[in-house]
């Protein structure tokens, strides 16, 4: 697979570390309670098709990247820096 790093450009997926669902962007507030954190830490959708996920360009610029990928075809649709995704969400 090839992943378009917003900083480095398109690179081989072997330069990246996969971290799973981009749900990790949405850490509950400290006072949200144990249930909210349980959901955040353990509960994941298991989609066929589009998945929003986190990749870390550890053999490159060390950016955390939010990617939209079709997990059936491995096609990437959109990549952006986690920092930007987070700011955009606010």
């Amino acid at each position: 697979m090839r992943i378009n790093c917003p900083i480095c450009g398109e690179r081989d997926s072997r330069e990246f570390h996969y971290r799973g669902s981009a749900k990790l962007l949405d850490r509950p507030a400290p006072d949200a309670g144990a249930e909210a954190f349980y959901d955040y830490v353990y509960i994941r959708e298991n989609p066929t098709g589009l998945n929003r996920e986190l990749w870390f360009h550890d053999s490159g610029c060390r950016s955390w990247i939010v990617a939209e990928r079709n997990v059936t075809t491995h096609e990437f649709f959109k990549t952006e820096l986690a920092v930007d995704a987070k700011r955009g969400a606010k």
Partner: protein, 979 residues
């Protein structure tokens, strides 16, 4: 000699001697091993896998199932090389495989007489009992009798390389479609890679005699190749097989760099494995001729008709003196016509079609079938069934053509299923099977030269348009445009004898019938039951016939029957090439500590810690085992002073206005309150509440900290910090970078540690200016250094950090000073003993399943702030007496031995899982205390101090009674630490 007097793409001025089974032959430059052997009348080249039947050359390409050779002698011999792709070179030594004692007289030929018993499934059914016999007797014997070439058993000393390439367009195959595609795309301004497995580009054009634009087609191809070679945006890759198609336009490619050279240039690899990232690709891999199955069709001399044509046209080697052709389509007649033109005698052309007409002057028998062959070790006669009965025809070579199968293989690598095209009776690639790849030419089922040129140019134009470029004006060269005329004919029915399908795995049409009879009818089941298509050639010349027979037997059509799955690699790839630069030291590069040279001078024994090499202990004169060295080093540190290189600990420099807040959030305890000039021990949790790592952070300024991590988790912690800073809290203004490599760091530990530093540092170090857990900038001469008063040994200790390039010099200075006061270096073993004596944890304890409370650090999770893992760590079941808690253990019975990983049980309980009370994580002999000690986890351990339990290790058969105690075995109050 069967070498034709003229013709062929050979350099007849370069005569090349080579040997086959010890006999010397001569060939020309431009010959493959196969063509040179045929030119020398060598027809018998191997023995078959199972029945040891004599076999000859079947094809002229990489699809060859029979002519597999061992190339070279000694440790660097290469087995299973296809003679049809191996170029000859001066001194090439080839030998046949799978024969004993010799190729012409093979004792294992007896297997062929036993063939009624050796049909598909024979091994599964026969060698079932007794079970133990399989591994010891049956399998070794079967393996010796069957099989291909042999490895030398010596390590592969050949050099392999890996490489990466990028292009706009990868063109796979350099026949008419590939050349036209590459030319059009290159003229349109694309970066083009043109790869072909052959050593001469041009594909099938090199084997044909017709004209393109009025020139011989091979000359036309050579012209286009030189035009492409002159273009800066084109990279030509001959001898390069595209082995696989992968996600994102990535293709694997194997380049045979020096297999064709008698002596390779210095540093040239044998093979290079390429990963090509292509924005688009055009598959122009051509087509592979398929046989017709008939009894005894595996006799040396029976070949593919297109291969016969190739040997005559390209290599000027006549595979026989009186050649016959068996065909169901017009292409067989093209072979006959070319042979007639080259002056080779045609004994007969047998066409299954009743209405076939000859296209040149040769005897033609229509509506007929070849039903048998004879000749010891090689063909001498065929039996032909005509409407008038059986006719015998003397012939020493039979070319068979059952039609051509487009090379769809690569388009199946991402689970694409080829689609059936009735008019050519073959499968073609499914549209869009590989994103970004389109097919052209005969790979697409467009079989005429005109159609190949046109679809090649069209495909390139499509790619250009796709990539936003204008297609250049390209005039299509004039070429033949003969339609495919074929009447599908897969195998001869109603004749006596076995008809071979898969020559490499010795699978016959009878085996397919047996699979049908025993209900292994889906093609994937048939494949595995019969092993059809499971040899190194992946059934390139056999799959179609096998599934056609199955279709016939089940009464379904061929597309309904379907094909098996082609998987990478297209042709075999040596593991050495795939693993290029991934073996030996390249697999695990070495990281050396700054004092490595000094440690080696001092007889250090090293342990690998990740990629680091750290001294385990330093052997001194008279010491015969590690325990003596380790014990001495512990006593030395506790009595005077010891030195240890701790550079391997992860060091992260953290700065920014929000650095204090950031540390508060990644550590469970507070760091924003840490005074400047102080160090604090910190615990890091994962978000699930488990302990991730521990370490220290030192505050050098309002907004400046230096964090240390454990050696093992340095990379993980760094990634975690990046995660926290970018994914969790990008609003925090904090920057950090790993400085592990930039600072050499040494522990100076023991009651005389301060004395050792006296005079070395410009600063005056006292308990007042530099108390326990102080840190600060210091200077050594002109070198700026950092000093931390921290201890992992429990002693009054410091860690001194200097810029890495001063590491060796400082290590030697420290060494000199230590020696003067009876001190010296200690290794990982002594370090481990001292930290166990102090109850300090490592990743043996924080192994990923323990919480802060489990290790007695529950209070380190600050109630005043949030941190990663805080909420989760407070979930029910993650703290409290029902959990296993960190304790110390000391032996109380006669057995004193502790074992890592051994489990703990109540004294009166059976040592079974139900009664499990915990386990040992670390243990050592403590020279300080004079007995063994251990750390471990025990259920509700903190409330059970003084209780006696037992350690039971059923694997190593040790049972040790021990007392649960405080994990801090020595200097519980920490007096030594403070001065």
């Amino acid at each position: 000699m069967s070498r034709l007097a003229k013709g062929g793409q050979l350099d007849r001025s370069q005569q090349i001697p080579f040997t086959f089974d010890g006999q010397t032959y001569l060939g020309f430059k431009g010959d493959t091993l196969a063509s040179a052997l045929l030119a020398n009348d060598v027809r018998l080249v191997g023995r078959s896998f199972k029945y040891h039947r004599p076999r000859g050359i079947l094809t002229s390409g990489s699809e060859e199932p029979n002519a597999l050779m061992q190339i070279g002698v000694g440790p660097q011999t290469t087995p299973n090389v296809r003679a049809t792709t191996q170029e000859i070179y001066r001194g090439l030594a080839a030998s046949s495989q799978n024969r004993f004692p010799s190729l012409s007289f093979d004792l294992m030929e007896v297997n062929d007489l036993l063939s009624p018993f050796l049909s598909a499934g024979f091994y599964y059914k026969t060698f079932m009992w007794p079970k133990a016999f399989w591994e010891k007797l049956y399998e070794p014997v079967i393996r010796r009798a069957a099989g291909l070439g042999a490895l030398s058993g010596a390590a592969d000393a050949a050099h392999y390389d890996k490489a990466f390439a990028h292009c706009d367009l990868l063109v796979i195959g350099s026949g008419p479609a590939g050349l036209m595609a590459a030319l059009t795309a290159a003229k349109g301004g694309l970066d083009v890679i043109l790869a072909d497995e052959d050593f001469t580009l041009g594909g099938r054009l090199n084997s044909e005699t017709y004209e393109i634009d009025g020139a011989g087609c091979s000359d036309w191809a050579a012209g286009i190749v030189s035009e492409l070679a002159a273009m800066k945006n084109v990279r030509l890759m001959p001898r390069t097989t595209i082995t696989g198609a992968y996600d994102g336009g990535t293709y694997g490619a194997l380049e045979r760099v020096s297999h064709h050279l008698a002596t390779a240039p210095d540093h040239a690899p044998l093979e290079t494995f390429w990963r090509i990232a292509a924005r688009r690709a055009i598959l122009a891999g051509g087509a592979i001729e398929r046989p017709i199955a008939f009894p005894n069709n595996d006799r040396p001399g029976v070949m593919m008709a297109g291969a016969v044509r190739s040997y005559v046209n390209r290599f000027a080697a006549a595979p026989g003196q009186a050649v016959s052709i068996f065909t169901n389509n017009d292409d067989g007649h093209r072979t006959a016509a070319d042979l007639v033109a080259a002056g080779v005698t045609i004994a007969a052309v047998i066409d299954t079609r009743a209405g076939a007409v000859a296209v040149a002057d040769y005897p033609l028998i229509t509506g007929a079938q070849v039903v048998g062959t004879s000749g010891r070790l090689g063909l001498s006669e065929i039996s032909v069934r005509t409407s008038a009965g059986i006719r015998k025809i003397k012939t020493d070579c039979l070319g068979v053509s059952g039609g051509w199968n487009p090379s769809v293989h690569l388009t199946c690598h991402m689970n694409g299923r080829p689609v059936w095209r009735e008019d050519i009776a073959a499968f073609i690639p499914a549209d869009g099977a590989i994103p970004g790849l389109i097919s052209a030419g005969s790979a697409l089922g467009e079989m005429s030269t005109h159609a190949a040129l046109k679809t090649g140019a069209d495909a390139a134009a499509e790619v250009l348009k796709d990539l936003g470029k204008k297609a250049p004006r390209v005039t299509l060269p004039k070429a033949e445009d003969a339609p495919v005329t074929i009447q599908p004919f897969w195998h001869v029915n109603g004749a006596k004898g076995r008809s071979w399908l898969d020559m490499q795995n010795d699978v016959t049409s009878k085996d397919v019938k047996l699979a049908h009879q025993e209900n292994f009818r889906p093609v994937e089941h048939m494949k595995r039951y019969t092993t059809l298509g499971m040899a190194t050639d992946q059934g390139k010349t056999s799959n179609m016939n096998g599934l056609a027979i199955m279709a016939e037997l089940t009464g379904r059509s061929i597309p309904e029957t379907g094909t098996t799955t082609f998987r990478p690699p297209y042709t075999p790839v040596a593991i050495g090439a795939l693993g290029a630069h991934g073996a030996g030291k390249s697999f695990a590069p070495e990281r050396f500590i700054p004092s490595d040279a000094l440690a080696r001078e001092k007889n250090a024994r090293f342990a690998e810690v990740g990629l680091w090499y750290r001294p385990s202990w330093f052997t001194q004169a008279g010491e015969t085992n590690w325990r003596q060295s380790c014990d001495r080093e512990v006593v030395m540190v506790r009595a005077s002073v010891g030195l240890c290189d701790v550079t391997t600990l992860g060091k992260i420099d953290i700065q920014g206005p929000d650095a204090p807040e950031f540390l508060d959030r990644v550590y469970s305890n507070m760091f924003s309150t840490l005074p400047i000039g102080k160090v604090r021990y910190g615990l890091m949790l994962r978000e699930d509440g488990m302990v991730m790592d521990d370490g220290t952070s030192a505050r050098f300024g309002e907004n400046h900290y230096v964090m240390t991590t454990t050696t093992a988790a340095a990379g993980q912690v760094m990634m975690h910090l990046d995660f926290a800073a970018q994914v969790l809290w990008p609003e925090l203004d904090v920057q950090f970078i790993s400085v592990t490599e930039q600072w050499a760091q040494f522990a100076v530990a023991g009651p005389k540690s301060r004395q050792l530093l006296d005079g070395l540092l410009s600063e005056d170090i006292t308990d007042e200016t530099f108390p326990y857990m102080a840190c600060g900038d210091v200077t050594i001469g002109k070198v700026k250094a950092r000093l931390f008063r921290i201890s992992f040994s429990g002693e009054h200790a410091y860690e001194l950090a200097v810029p890495a390039h001063y590491g060796d010099a400082i290590a030697r200075e420290l060494d000199k000073r230590a020696a003067e006061m009876g001190g010296g270096w200690y290794g990982m073993e002594a370090l481990n003993v001292m930290r166990i004596e102090k109850g300090f944890i490592t990743h043996a304890e924080i192994h990923g399943r323990v919480t802060a409370d489990d290790i007695g650090a529950g209070r380190m999770v600050s109630a005043k702030k949030d941190c990663v893992g805080k909420v989760s760590s407070q979930r029910p079941g993650l703290s409290g007496p029902e959990r296993e808690q960190l304790v110390g253990l000391k032996p109380v019975g006669t057995v004193k031995q502790f074992l890592g990983g051994a489990h703990l049980f109540n004294v009166d309980d059976d040592a079974v899982r139900m009664n499990d009370q915990g386990y040992i994580t670390s243990h050592c002999f403590s020279p300080t205390l004079g007995h063994t000690i251990a750390l471990g986890f025990v259920k509700n351990g903190r409330a059970r101090m003084g209780e006696v339990i037992k350690m039971v290790d059923l694997l190593r058969n040790v049972e040790t009674k021990c007392e649960i105690c405080n994990p801090v075995f020595w200097d519980e109050k920490g007096g030594a630490l403070r001065g």
